[in-house]
Amino acid sequence: MSLPDTARECAAMVRDGRASALEITGAILARTAALDPVINSHTAVLHERALSEARAIDGLRARGEPLPPLAGVPCTVKNLFDLQGLTTLAGSKLRIGAPPAVRDATLVRRLHGAGAVFTGALNMDAYAYGFTTENTHFGVTRNPRDLSCVAGGSSGGSGAALAAGLTYCSLASDTNGSIRVPSSFCGVFGLKPTFGRLSRSGSFPFVPALDHLGPLARNCGDLALAYDLLQGADPDDPACANRAIETTVPTLDSGVQELRIGILEGHFEQWADADARDAVVRAAAALGATDHVTLPEAHRARAAAFIITATESGAFYLDELRSRPEDFEPLSRERLTAGALLPAAWYQRAQRFRSWFRAAAREVFQHYDLLIAAATPCTATPVGAETMVLNDTTLPVRPNIGLLTQPISFIGLPVAVAPLWTSRNMPIGVQLIAPPWREDLCLRAARALELAGLARSPVANPSV
């Protein structure tokens, strides 16, 4: 069968009887078997689980029962989400042999309840500490838009599986940019919601002060629908806000006419190359934005996020750094080690600066409803690249791909990434940044760019 373009069309086909959930799931599993040996987006293909979930959906229909909104839609998760019966790897060789999860993560349960079929657990940078998904143990995930390039990270499996048409929606995490970077590099839509919006219960932690979870998809309608289904308070995650569900689907097509939109300058221009700046210019023009805005001290925000990340993750892995250092990812082991040795005063200062920067952002949002910046400094970098040149400065690639995302997640602002395309037909994402709890505005702006034909995420068909 030929697979439909969207998750919503998938569910409609199952509902109308044009395809069974089993047929759709089978087609996704076959496509995964054909393409993933080269792309390496999956660390586990969940044949049994997926077929069983698909049969259950087909059973509902056969009995004439109402079908949920994602009935029969194949979905995937970054391998730091608990899937019952599977060991949660978090990209880490250290986790091999750990006991399997006893139940699904909260967000997995919510999508399952909405009819989703889970077909895979996806590759990521070890521990989520990286922006390239060059995982030494589980292999590099290749970018379906250009197989010589990385998929971005740390949720590279999610970006690559979507770009290659191996899934319709993927759950991922974003601590410093891990949803937004692969969305940009792989040319898909991603949403990093407000810190505390979505429950992290049943996901493997990295930096509890900064960890967010969210969805990626190939179009705004699917992204907004998945996000709405994922919302809801959860006492199992103490950082999950006790807020009512605020749906975004009903206003998705409202446009941005009345919104005050600013283009972030300073740090966000300085660390963007010509492709990234051009994408911002085109997005701004399409959204009617002309004002240039400074988010003050963004470079210090990035530094503070880096210190909090190093400290919390280094402390978390200290026992294993002592006992089995040889099993660590070589690309991040010494960053973790250094993190375990930092003065506590640095961490505390970074946390206090977080409050200062939050206040500064609140002031900016007195005057603007939405801010635009590039999601990555450049398009996808080559596999194995050690350095990149940004505006005449040579920088190490791996720690610096998040230069534009880190200041934003540092204070938990909601961001949608919409993929634009360069003249070389490579994707690059723009961040659409809203005040806290206004994911609806991020998604409306992304949808406006999609309707304008600027942002799109066609399925790639890499020759393998």
């Binding site: 407000t194 810190f195 505390g196 002060a209 103490p238 950082a239 806000a241 001290e297 470079h299 210090r300 990035r302 530094a303 503070a304 880096f306 210190i307 190093a310 200290l318 750094l321 002592r322 250092p325 082991r333 010494e334 960053r335 080690t337 250094a338 993190g339 375990a340 040795l341 930092l342 003065p343 640095w346 505390q348 200062r349 970074a350 946390q351 206090r352 600066f353 977080r354 409050s355 200062w356 939050r358 720690p399 204070i411 938990g412 602002l413 806290p436 709890w437």
Partner: protein, 60 residues
């Protein structure tokens, strides 16, 4: 701080934390520490008023 100073810091702190580092790990850890120290400097030089407090459970 020189590279030697950083390696001395790594030696002391690693001993305190019970970490045994071979020469390559020791040197690379010092490089990482120096990079992070540059970021800490950015924060140290930025004045914060006493009333700027951390948010124990961060709510944007």
């Amino acid at each position: 701080m020189t590279q030697q100073d950083w390696e001395a810091y790594v030696d002391g702190m690693a001993a305190l934390q019970g970490l045994t580092l071979d020469p390559a790990r020791r040197a690379e850890t010092a490089v990482q520490l120096e990079r992070i120290a540059g970021m800490a400097q950015l924060l140290d030089e930025f004045p914060l008023q006493a009333e700027v407090e951390v948010a124990p459970v961060f709510q944007p």
